[in-house]
């Protein structure tokens, strides 16, 4: 079945440093979504990417969808303490499957 892996599993950064998490799917995706889950909370939708090579920005967050639509990345510039949480990518396979498969997640902690 479809697998979605993320690296790194954990990332500790000093406040103000940049952060990147990478997402790789075993199958081609029709689209990819990103979610953030704060400690003790539930996943919250951040963004959806649909087109090959698409890049979207939300303030300090930059999302990319790979040309082959099998990988994606999330980059945060100048991290802040409010960025703490686990970031999940989630993808739908490209053959009409409507199941949204979540990645393994990257847990970000910020050192003040």
């Amino acid at each position: 079945g479809q697998q979605v892996m993320q690296i790194p599993q954990y990332q500790h950064v000093q406040e103000g440093e940049d952060f990147t998490t990478y997402c790789n799917s075993s199958t081609t995706l029709s689209n990819i979504q990103w979610y953030k889950q704060r400690p003790g909370g539930h996943p919250v939708f951040l963004i959806q990417l649909v087109k090959s090579g698409e890049v979207k920005k939300q303030k300090r967050l930059t999302f990319q969808f790979g040309e082959a639509k099998k990988n994606s990345s999330l980059h945060i510039t100048a991290t802040q303490t409010t960025d703490v949480g686990t970031y999940f990518c989630a993808g739908r396979a490209n053959f009409g499957n409507e199941k949204l498969t979540f990645g393994t997640g990257t847990r970000l902690t910020i050192i003040p």
């Binding site: 079945g1 979504q33 919250v44 939708f45 999940f88 199941k99 979540f102 997640g105």
Partner: protein, 112 residues
């Protein structure tokens, strides 16, 4: 406008028992998906309901079953509970089967 609501928030059961979890979708949403999230892991897809039918199913045994009612609310039933069923059970609603998900706060199930 109420978001996704789940009940109960916490539940303790013993092995072999049965449990029913409930979910009310966000207003205007017609699709409900259920996920199981073990501690430190990403959400695992259980199944999705649309138009009162199970549309997609993940790799979960038949002990996991569900239902969607005409008002779009949903139930997740788990029979013959195992220790390994201990997890956070998340309900997510959407408008349609391929859209972004809005998650509830989850039900924390502990099986002793």
């Amino acid at each position: 406008d109420a978001g996704v609501t789940q009940s109960p928030t916490h539940l303790i059961k013993t092995r072999g028992q049965q449990v029913t979890l409930r979910c009310s979708p966000k207003s205007g949403h017609d699709t409900v998906s259920w996920y199981q999230q073990a501690l430190g892991q990403g959400p695992q897809f259980i199944f999705q309901y649309y138009e009162e039918e199970e549309r997609q199913r993940g790799n979960f045994p038949d002990r996991f079953s569900g239902h969607q009612f005409p008002n779009y609310s949903s139930e997740l039933n788990v029979n013959a509970l195992l220790l390994g069923d201990s997890a956070l059970y998340l309900c997510a609603s959407s408008w349609g089967t391929n859209e972004k998900l809005f998650f509830g706060s989850g039900t924390q199930l502990s099986v002793l």
